[in-house]
């Protein structure tokens, strides 16, 4: 018997679909769309509700914060990629059972609250903390870590590294091994195979990993508060401070708005970059 055309699936009447989805649609409009409109509204009004450009103008005072946040999260993201990619690659070469166990071990800390993870890091690195006591016990000079920029970046890497490893590992482990064999057969050495075959094929994993590390890094405020020792003011800290007092809600809203736009632009650039990569390969 020849493959007959599939009969079109019978669907329940369309209104049913809308009834089922309606609670969600209402919820989305009320609690996702409306709040964003409120951010816009607050960003462009003053405390009395009158239209103003003042909040946007006030952003000039925070240029330094934006630059610092942006550069710190870019550094953290790049470090995560440099550490995470080889790690995901190494893990993907193990036996399936070992892969499962190691991925579970890597994911486990993600189940612990970010506050706890950051706090434990601070407890170790602090001036009177575990590490410095250990160094002094060995007769070495204690090092001042908490309160420096590297400490904040390290905190971001420490907290968000699994977000980088997970998507990259899932792409690499699903990759058709015959591509690698074919590359080797056609005369690529291991390094060439990595850069010409494996890396481009895992572009989608890299993109989602970068997104998943960059967004929480640029918006964090707890990590910089704890590991920055109060000396680093990132965008997250600034926003958090504005929302302590109703008077500064408007400025806070405008900073949030700009951060959102900044992230959107970064994402758009990233996606464009990945599309180009994709077409070159295929």
């Amino acid at each position: 018997m020849t493959a007959s055309k599939k009969p079109p699936a019978r669907r329940l009447s369309s209104p049913f679909a809308y009834v089922a989805a309606s609670p969600h649609i209402v919820w989305t409009v009320l609690f996702i769309v409306a709040p964003l409109i409120f951010v816009l509204y607050y960003a462009f009004t003053d405390a009395s509700g009158a239209f103003t450009w003042d909040n946007i103008m006030a952003l000039g005072d925070h240029t330094e914060t934006f630059t610092l946040s942006f550069s710190m999260s870019v550094v953290a993201t790049v470090l995560c990629l440099l550490i995470g990619y080889p790690l995901a690659y190494c893990i993907a070469k193990l036996s399936p059972r070992a892969q499962k166990i190691i991925m579970l071990l890597l994911m486990l800390p993600m189940w612990m609250n970010l506050l706890i993870r950051t706090y434990s890091m601070m407890a170790i690195l602090d001036d009177g903390g575990f590490l410095n006591n250990f160094l002094m016990m060995l007769g070495l000079e204690p090092v001042h870590i908490v309160g420096t920029a590297p400490a904040v970046v390290f905190g971001m890497v420490y907290n968000f590294l699994p977000y980088m490893i997970l998507p990259i590992h899932s792409v690499i482990s699903k990759m058709d091994k015959r591509y690698i064999e074919a590359a080797n057969d056609l005369g690529c050495n291991n390094v060439q195979t990595l850069f010409r075959v494996v890396l481009p094929l895992s572009a989608s994993g890299i993109i989602s990993g970068v997104t998943m590390v960059f967004v929480p890094s640029i918006s964090t405020f707890y990590i910089s508060q704890k590991l920055g020792g109060g000396t680093f003011d990132l965008i997250g800290d600034t926003i958090e401070r504005q929302f302590q007092n109703p008077v500064t809600y408007n400025v806070g809203a405008s900073i949030s708005l700009v951060m959102m736009i900044l992230i959107l632009i970064s994402m758009a650039i990233m996606n464009r970059f990945s599309d180009d990569e994709g077409t070159v390969i295929v």
């Binding site: 679909a17 989805a21 969600h24 919820w27 996702i32 409120f38 190494c90 575990f130």
Partner: protein, 289 residues
């Protein structure tokens, strides 16, 4: 090469786990020194259990996690069903992208945007406590919804379109076919979505921080206010307990998954229905010849 890669994996894992292990160790310290281990004691645990605040926060966290996960699972599953059946591609696309906004946006933006809404509406209504349990619940359901939909929608897509059709041919009403045929198929997605929503809600700090009032404190918020003050090992004790609880939960869920042959059973059952669909199709085709 192999040894090198294994060393590398071990090194990264060690760096990830050492802080947590040190924290757990120092929760048993006899003094409040967080740098030198002076002696083993349960002092900080006793201290922790003496505070009513901890238990209130624990209770609040669990109430919030269960109620927000249940609400999000119900709304999200219905939405997945609706989206799956919806014919307008444009509307489907729009709803999906809007739903995903809280997942893409930084938590702090989701938090403050909802806070602005709650404060604005609360002021208009003239309420004294603008941020309370209900605003927190709304916030948690909102950021849980995309994860439920993300887990359930693929199950609808993977399901054989002919399954509900076969069920209806065999005498089911549409409602019966949903509950007897479609629901078992999408169940794994619903369960994963629910667990994800539950854990996300347990773990959330940033959004809760902006959307909660002073009368309803969750554990992450309690930890935050504790770490704002001086460093004391009672936070270590609380963290250790939370880590152990999460480990126990994970091991339990893994054990139940390991013994669960529900998926295999479902698979067998589905292939039986698929056979039926096949024979029916063949019979139709044979008739046409």
């Amino acid at each position: 090469m192999k040894i090198l890669s294994k060393t590398y994996i071990a090194l990264i894992l060690a760096i990830m786990y050492i802080p947590i292990l040190v924290l757990m160790l120092f929760s048993f310290n006899s003094t409040n020194n967080t740098g030198v281990f002076t002696g083993f004691s349960f002092y900080w645990y006793q201290e922790l259990f003496r505070s009513a605040e901890t238990f209130a926060a624990l209770k609040n966290t669990l109430i919030l996690a269960v109620s927000s996960a249940v609400t999000a699972t119900l709304i999200g599953t219905a939405a997945s069903l609706g989206l799956h059946r919806m014919r307008s591609k444009f509307l489907r696309g729009t709803i999906t992208s809007l739903t995903n906004i809280p997942m893409m946006n930084p938590d702090i933006v989701t938090g403050i945007s909802m806070m602005l809404l709650f404060v604005f509406v609360g002021t208009r209504l003239g309420s004294t406590e603008k941020l309370n349990f209900w605003t927190l619940l709304i916030a948690h359901v909102t950021f849980n919804l995309p994860y439920v939909i993300l887990n359930v929608t693929p199950k609808f897509r993977q399901m054989d379109k002919h399954l509900p059709e076969a069920a209806q041919d065999l005498g089911c009403t549409p409602v019966q076919s949903f509950f007897k045929v479609e629901l078992p198929c999408i169940m794994p997605g619903i369960v994963t979505g629910f667990i994800m929503a539950f854990t996300l809600s347990l773990d959330d700090f940033v959004i809760s921080y902006f959307c909660s009032g002073s009368d309803f404190q969750t554990l992450p918020i309690l930890i935050y206010s504790m770490t704002k003050k001086e460093v004391k090992p009672d936070i270590y004790a609380l963290s250790t307990l939370m880590i152990i609880a999460i480990l126990a939960l994970l091991i339990l869920s893994n054990l139940s998954n390991g013994r669960d042959d529900g998926l295999a059973r479902l698979h067998n059952w589905r292939s039986r229905v698929r056979e039926k669909v096949q024979t029916r199709r063949e019979a139709k085709g044979g008739g046409a010849k």
